[in-house]
Symmetry: C2
Subunit: 118 residues, 2 copies
DNA sequence: GCAATATATAACCATCTGGAGATATAACTG
DNA sequence: CAGTTATATCTCCAGATGGTTATATATTGC
């Protein structure tokens, strides 16, 4: 489960769209390619990137190679991001604090107070 | 808030390490560069990528340009991933189901039963 | 075996990326 | 002003990326 490969694979909008499509179930390569103004080899390349990142797996159904989403790398990416959750929540907390302070200042003194220049 | 730029920025281990460092507070470029076997220009390039993705901002402190983490893009990335949460949770549910079935089959019949082919 | 369909691979191209070293800019220090 | 420190920018390079067209492979159906 390689975060480099995972985030790199997710950095392309075509590949994110492919994953969105696969979230609803298995889809063949041709069917995946249809919505895009892309050649079939280009789509195959994207699928190879996704497969290499472990984000999809493929089976065999006649001549089709249906793709299936594999969520483990997404979960790993989520776990990485989770470590930063407190930061953005903290930022909201700070914003709330700031808004609260501004409200109090506005109530205490309607004129614009000079800011300390640090 | 551009997911392409965000995921692309997160795809590099040096940049993820930089973010991890910044999670603890503002750090100057030299201090950020110290742990890496990288030239200063290389670190500046990484910082430019992070800044372009909105993942960091920079202020001025004398000759220093301290970097600060900006969590908004991380939150956006998290929101994108969140849409797939049910998939990996579902996969665990399926795995649990499968293990349960295998256990029952093993209990019912010790020999290897033939799998239905699709 | 042959044609058709689905997919993969090859060869090529333009652009991007991550690194380097050298140099420029900006701000402090004397 | 001159020297030092912090950072940015320029130029160069090798390799990756995303696209193309052409071609190869695999599977089904006759």
């Amino acid at each position: 489960m390689n975060l480099d490969a995972t985030f790199s694979a997710l950095a392309d909008p075509t590949r994110r769209a492919i994953l969105a499509r696969l979230a609803e179930g298995e889809v063949s390569v041709m069917d995946l390619a249809a919505p895009f103004a892309l050649s079939q080899p280009a789509v195959s390349k994207h699928l190879r990137v996704l497969e290499h990142a472990g984000l999809i797996s493929r089976s065999r159904d006649g001549q089709r190679r249906p793709c299936r989403i594999e969520a483990a790398p997404l979960e790993a990416a989520n776990a990485w991001l989770e470590r930063y959750r407190e930061i953005w929540e903290q930022n909201y907390a700070r914003l709330d604090d700031l808004l609260e302070i501004m409200k109090q200042e506005a109530a205490a003194e309607p004129s614009k107070p000079k800011r300390k220049k640090k």
